[in-house]
Amino acid sequence: MPESVIVLDQLAKSFGDTQAVAGVTMDIPAGEIFGFLGANGAGKTTTMRMLCGLTKPTSGTGFITGHDIWKGRYAIRSRFGYVAQRFSLYPDLTVLENLRFFGAAYQVSGKQLDDRVETLLDQLDLRPKSRALAGSLSGGMRQMLALSCALVHEPALLFLDEPTSGLDPVHRQQIWDLLYELSSQGTTIFVTTHYMDEAERCTEVGFLHQGRLLAKESPLGLKGHFKGQLLEMQVEPVMEGLARLRAVPGILGVALRSGRIRIYSAESGRLVAKWEKAWPFEGLTWLGHSWAAPDMEDVFKAYSQGYTAILENAAP
């Protein structure tokens, strides 16, 4: 078991009466790609800002490589890189000037800085744009630049707040390839995302709901919490089927997947047996059904909607 880079104990943050983060306890081992999931407003960004020393925790403790995240925030500044949710570089400075400025701010200088900048320009495909103003870059290129500015001091820990939101699949792929490369070199990565295919790529995933950590496990482990497989119905017309099935007692929710209706219910088997005897939906044609293994999207839906009946060991 590798040493933990991040250790949180009942870390909480309130803004007035609103509790943004309600006591998060977790360990993140070194070298992990930790995916932080949760709906908008679940408290992901606040947690990350507390970890970066940008906002003071209301209660609880947090440690990064043994340093308190608030009291020791100046000591840990140079050890992590941070890519904020929105583009936060200087648009009126060139790619090179941005890189060199952040390098100097992190006390990388001289030959070391020159070498580092050269490496990053190549590694992140920024060389052709090195003299372009950051403000003139496309969304994908901006994000590559933001990432390279966070990497200029070769941090052992990287915080990324939705690094791929709004990007095309090619740039998303490029960024994830880079994250894998960094991870293979031993960098610990803490990333928030809304994309479930990205969550699948993390070594571990934490699920935050209304400021509480509901689960933290590998993607495989999380999917394993489902009690059995999920029922998929093929009916016609499909939109009407969606509405009518959703209203059936015992069905917690439905989702349309590639033309089939995926059903979240603890009683799927019983329902199918009942429907085989008598199909109660006049005007709906039952074309067939199948059983599917749950994926990360199902995990997200089940946790964020509170479908505890179909999950094992789920926190209430």
């Binding site: 020393g53 940008l54 500044r77 936060s88 009126d92 000037e97 400025f101 006390q107 200088s109």
Partner: protein
Amino acid sequence: MTIAAIFRSTASVAKKEFLHILRDWRVLILILSLPPAFTLLLGHAFEETSMTDAPALLRDADHSEESQKLVERLKANKTFAWRDWTPDTAAPVNLLKAGALIAVEIPPHWGGSLNNGDPQPLRLTLDGTDTNTAPQLRGAIQEDLGQFQLDSRQAMIDDLPDEVLELGKKIPEPVRKRFVSAMSPWTVESTILYNPDLKFIDYVMPGIVGLILQLLTVTLTACTIARERESGTLAQLLVSPLSRNQIVAGKVFPHLIVSILLIAATLATGYFHFHVVYRSPVLTAVLCLLFLLCSLGTGLLISAFCQTQTQAIQFAVFYLFPVFPLSGAFAPLDQLPPGIRSLSQAFPLTHFCHAFRMVSLGQVGVSSVVGDLVFLALGAVVTCFGAALLLRRIQD
């Protein structure tokens, strides 16, 4: 962290800030060309302290020898641009409609009245809209009339027949002497110290320098931190190992350089164009530097306090607005009531103008302006550290 490392990373902030200034070339051209342009504009605008060519109406209803002489004298006065006026009715003159600030009427039989021991008044009608011009114009007429009276008296004495003079010799000597003394104009002999030619530009120069610098530096720096907060780059700076003091110092330095250029351009315009003389250059330079630091600090303080650039500009304007009329830059502080005068002591510009005038016109030493220098130095320290502290408070 070693001293060299601290210096290097502060310098990187300063360099970045320089690049921001250079990249915004429109603003750069504006701030570099404004100070000389403003100096020329304001310097010439306040060059003449008295009025000239005030539109005025004149009517001579008397047509006597005396009234002709008075008309000649009035027409020679550069304060007025006379037009003849022939009222069609007995109604009072409508100055606004006539486009004049003053109407003068020499009433009928005025010349005669002067000679028969019952002098009639001239009739003046004045526009009181502007409280400054009406008394000034009335004074000018009064002065001309007084001079006219003196001249006529002199002419009368010169023309006295010999018998009268003989008669006068019978008056006892002390009485005669007093009489002669009373008949000759009494005068003053004045010595003007510090600004012997009463050049208004010499008086107003510190006001112009202070006004331009305060305006430009406060508004420029007020935006710097607010802009970073708005664009999210402030968070990026705050997660870096840069300390708040380094961030503030790095931001002050480039603006200080630019402001020194501005102050040099302004003083040079005064020197070469208006021939303003600056005495004690070293003391003046120290004074300017402290004033600049104080203004930059004020801008940063506003900046650290505000969430957006729009807010920062509004705060800057509200701060700057009372400073201009109340700092003694253009009008003397002695006109202000005591309560407001003590408020004006809170503005750096007040101390800058006072000390600048003391040094440049009064030619005094450091000891006479030490209070102003201490105020400005304290202001610089308090505002700069205040900005750094506020950056910390808002973040926490």
